[in-house]
């Protein structure tokens, strides 16, 4: 089933509700008072909470977070964030915002990419943010029913707060408090949308859950907040994002994802991000893993002007395991600063980071990682492999790993290599009849294969094609 069909389905309902499409004859929704004001202050934060009809504790949480946001300084490291203008941002977005109102306004590169990916006309408009189409919801309705029968909760974050407030309260903000960093504080103040998932003990969710399955889901909001709780012995795989370039007129995306993996449970969180190149993508993602639990972050970063994202695992229980598999492709005008953080707080914990980054056409790709092994985390092991491929002379790659070892009974290994496409490898493939461009693409695909093979099939095929597209014209 095409994922585009699914997206249309979910968004159709949301957009209909919000805009009220006359031709379908639906009534206007209650929350029709959309403030089009820019900028942020304490009052606006209160308004947001009121408009959403939230419990008092959440309103207080938001306001407190706002104060923290104001008091924190911008980070002095990482990418250049000086161009972000907080005054120009709309902090409460009505669902159809972030979209343009005519196909002409969508940037040419994005339209070209859709053509090359072979995406049909109607879907192009959808992804370009023009309009949604009405589709039957029968399939997705029954899927969600099936999940519910197993006791699995899968809702939008806003709905979850309304329907399961105690459960949400128990976990919300506990792993990533607003004090964590400036952008987590911002998200904590103005968050909207995102997913809430709870998987009961021993339940293994056999198909990957994706954002667009949810009723009331929207294409990526600016300040999404996701909370996932995987109870003992359970398993879930959640997929966020989409390989197709998403055009957004919003320039700042600051999301927060908190994941709690309980004893013996396993969670895999896959992200493919391909934001248009005007977007600052600053994300805080963290998972807490208990005894014998497993957390896997699979992170693909293709788009955005700036991305700063370091999926983290905190290993609190014996034999907990965390993995971060990350791909970043930085092209012209992009700075992707990504990596991972693993904190070992218990004995016999293990972690693995594999980072593959590619820079081309003047792009800059940086790996930033932290392995922190605390005293007492005896017999823990960590392995980091970060490889970078620089495709031309204008591009740049950096590696900034930090390894803090406070326990001597451990094994830590870290390796990094930086290289370009080898002349001998190129000749070898060309002597088989492949053009220089084809040969380069094959070598690049081989470079990232280790991670790409962990992606669901439709993503891996599209990812390879997208990268080939990006590389076009980079020969010479």
């Amino acid at each position: 089933m095409s994922k585009f069909v699914a997206k249309k389905t979910a968004e159709a309902r949301e957009v209909r509700k919000a805009i009220g499409e006359y031709k379908y004859g639906f009534s206007m929704p209650e929350n029709n008072i959309f403030k089009a004001k820019k900028g942020l202050d304490l009052e606006r934060v209160e308004e947001i909470s009121k408009m959403k009809g939230e419990p008092l504790w959440m309103k207080n949480f938001r306001q407190n977070s706002y104060k923290i946001f104001e008091s924190k300084e911008m980070p002095k490291w990482g990418a250049d964030l000086s161009q972000i203008n907080f005054e120009e941002i709309f902090y409460y977005v009505k669902p159809s915002e972030g979209q343009v109102d005519s196909w002409d306004k969508v940037p040419k590169e994005i339209k070209d990419t859709y053509d090359k990916l072979g995406i049909p006309e109607a879907e192009k408009e959808h992804l370009g943010g023009i309009k949604a189409q009405y589709e039957s919801e029968v399939v997705y309705g029954s899927l969600l029913d099936k999940l519910k029968k197993q006791g699995i909760l899968f809702l939008g974050m806003d709905e979850a707060l309304k329907e399961y407030p105690e459960l949400v309260k128990e976990y919300f903000g506990k792993l990533i408090p607003p004090t964590d960093n400036k952008f987590a504080a911002l998200n904590s103040a103005v968050w909207s949308g995102g997913s809430f998932i709870y998987v009961p003990k021993g339940v293994k969710v056999d198909l990957p859950l994706q954002a667009y399955f949810r009723i009331n889901s929207l294409r990526m909001g600016q300040f999404e907040r996701t909370l996932i709780i995987v109870d003992e012995g359970a398993f879930v795989h959640y997929i966020e994002g989409c390989t197709s370039p998403i055009y957004s007129s919003d320039s700042l995306h600051a999301a927060v994802v908190e994941i709690f993996v309980k004893k013996g449970a396993r969670c895999r969180y896959t992200t493919i991000q391909n934001w248009s190149n005007n977007v600052y993508n600053l994300v805080t993602k963290r998972a807490k893993v208990e005894e014998e639990g497993i957390m896997e972050w699979v992170d693909g970063n293709l788009g955005s002007k700036v991305t700063m994202k370091y999926p983290a695992v905190v290993l609190v229980g014996r034999k907990a395991h965390g993995e971060i598999l990350s791909i970043a492709v930085a092209s012209k005008g992009q700075h992707l600063d990504a990596g991972g953080k693993c904190t070992h707080l218990a004995p016999e914990t293990t972690s693995r980071i594999i980072s593959k980054s590619i820079s081309l056409k003047g792009g800059r790709s940086s790996y930033r990682g932290l392995i922190n092994i605390a005293s007492g985390a005896k017999n823990s092991r960590s392995k980091v492999v970060c490889d970078a491929l620089i495709l031309d002379k204008q591009s740049r790659s950096d590696t900034y790993p930090v390894n803090k070892i406070n326990e001597r009974e451990v094994i830590l290994e870290h390796e990094a290599t930086v290289s370009k496409i080898g002349e001998e490898q190129l000749f070898y493939l060309m002597s088989r009849g492949f053009s220089e461009e084809e040969a380069e693409a094959m070598i690049v695909n081989g470079f990232i294969e280790e991670i790409v093979k962990e992606l669901p099939m439709e993503y891996s095929v599209e990812l390879n094609r997208l990268i080939a597209l990006q590389m076009e014209g980079s020969v010479g």
């Binding site: 970078a388 900034y400 094994i411 390796e415 370009k420």
Partner: protein, 141 residues
């Protein structure tokens, strides 16, 4: 805290952080012209209650094409409460390079100690031998 800063592309540094000592050691290797090569190896042993802050950077500038740069950091945590932080960094501004770095941190292997003890050395003597060979050994590769 003792601080050491070494600049250069080609060097081997052996270091012993004694019991209770705190040491900061940084190596900086800058490549700024074509066809330069270099290898930096830092090996350190950290004794009881010692702390080593080990930082190393390879910077390859735009003009430094065909550079071949390597950085290797190996730390052995010997005594109780010995700690280390290892930060091997790379900043690469051009494509025709071969650059790699590796860092490893670990403790002395109990098997090695046991083996030497079965040959008649007491624990301290065994440790001493292992440390000496770690610091004095040729690069295995």
């Amino acid at each position: 805290m003792k601080k050491y800063l070494y600049k250069g592309r080609e060097m081997v540094k052996m270091l012993r952080v004694e019991a209770g000592e705190q040491v900061y050691l940084r190596t900086e290797s800058v490549y700024d012209a074509p066809r330069q090569t270099g290898e930096v190896v830092v090996k350190a042993v950290v004794m009881e209650n010692g702390f080593l802050d080990l930082s190393g950077i390879i910077k390859i500038k735009k003009k430094a094409n065909l550079a071949e740069a390597f950085l290797r950091q190996k730390v052995l945590l010997v005594g109780k409460n010995s700690r280390a932080e290892a930060r091997p960094e790379l900043e690469i501004e051009t494509d025709e390079v071969k650059a790699s770095h590796a860092a490893s941190v670990g403790r002395v292997s109990e098997e090695e100690i046991f083996y030497l003890m079965t040959r008649g050395f007491n624990r301290n003597e065994a440790l001493d031998l292992i440390i000496k060979s770690f610091l004095g050994e040729e690069d295995e590769e």
